[in-house]
């Protein structure tokens, strides 16, 4: 494999992992085939290493890693609530069509509860984790924001 490509692929891994295995891994890549399948395998494994890091031979997940933080209830609950709200809206649209109703139904109330209910959880998560692990927390917050926007999008786009 091309030396530059091998280096770039190795750079996809977390720093701790690279410090332990980076050099030998890069040497292995340079020694092997540089085909698409190999690159895909490395990209996929590097992604896995970010989510479930071995951290250079230390399998105990660091308490402030992205993988550890996303497993916290205050991190995944808002995501789950947004996705549930999105499912509710899409289910409602699929069953009854994108019709604006004068009287808000059960689905609308549930959607509002889910969206409003996650705000204190989101705030708690940000207050607790931003000072401890700013970068990882921002990634999680970006995910949560994306989920919120995704569940709000059909409501505003379809004018429900």
């Amino acid at each position: 494999m091309n030396r530059v490509v091998a280096h770039l692929l190795t750079r996809l891994y977390p720093r701790d992992w690279r410090e332990r295995y980076g050099e030998e891994f890069e040497a292995l890549l340079q020694n092997g085939h540089g085909d698409l399948r190999t690159s895909a395998n490395v990209i996929w494994s590097a992604l896995g290493e970010h989510i479930f890091p071995t951290r250079g031979g230390n399998m105990d997940q660091h308490i402030n890693s992205f993988g550890a933080i996303i497993k916290r209830p205050s991190a995944f609950l808002p995501l789950a609530m947004s996705l549930t709200a999105l499912t509710l809206v899409l289910g409602h649209v699929a069953m009854f069509g994108a019709v604006r109703e004068a009287d808000e139904g059960t689905t609308a109330h549930l959607w509002q509860l889910l969206m409003a209910g996650q705000m204190p959880v989101l705030a708690f998560f940000a207050i607790k984790w931003l000072p401890r692990a700013p970068r990882q927390t921002l990634y999680v917050l970006a995910l949560q924001t994306g989920a919120v926007l995704a569940s709000m999008a059909p409501v505003f786009l379809l004018n429900l």
Partner: protein, 113 residues
């Protein structure tokens, strides 16, 4: 052990019959002596036709090292060989025995068909 799905390829074109449990394959490869990454890939390909991708291989190596089932040796230039530990040998033996029992039972059932 880690998921065994990330196998880059196999020499078996039909995709059937290939075995893909990277940690076990690494342990089995190191049972015949210390090896570095590239030697392990070639050895495993010769052993069962499964060609591990480099990412998969090092995912298995990192976890096996953490478990204390393999250990690194001093690097040779940029390559680092690994060897299986006594604990790793014990685990490998136990796993292969289970597989043997499973294989025997499975083949027995096929013969009965």
């Amino acid at each position: 052990m880690r998921s065994t799905r990330n196998v880059a390829g196999t020499e078996n074109d039909a995709g059937t019959g290939h075995y893909s449990d990277p940690p076990l394959l690494v342990l089995a490869s190191l049972a015949s002596g210390p090896k570095h990454g590239h030697a392990m890939i070639e050895d495993i390909a010769g052993l069962c036709g499964t060609r591990l991708g480099p990412g998969t291989l090092y995912g298995a190596i990192a976890r096996l090292e953490q478990l204390g089932w393999i250990e690194p040796l001093p690097p040779e230039e940029r390559r680092r060989p690994y060897r299986i530990t006594a604990q790793g040998l014990h685990v490998l033996r136990a796993k292969l025995k289970t597989l043997e029992l499973f294989t025997r039972a499975g083949l027995g059932r096929l013969e009965a068909l």
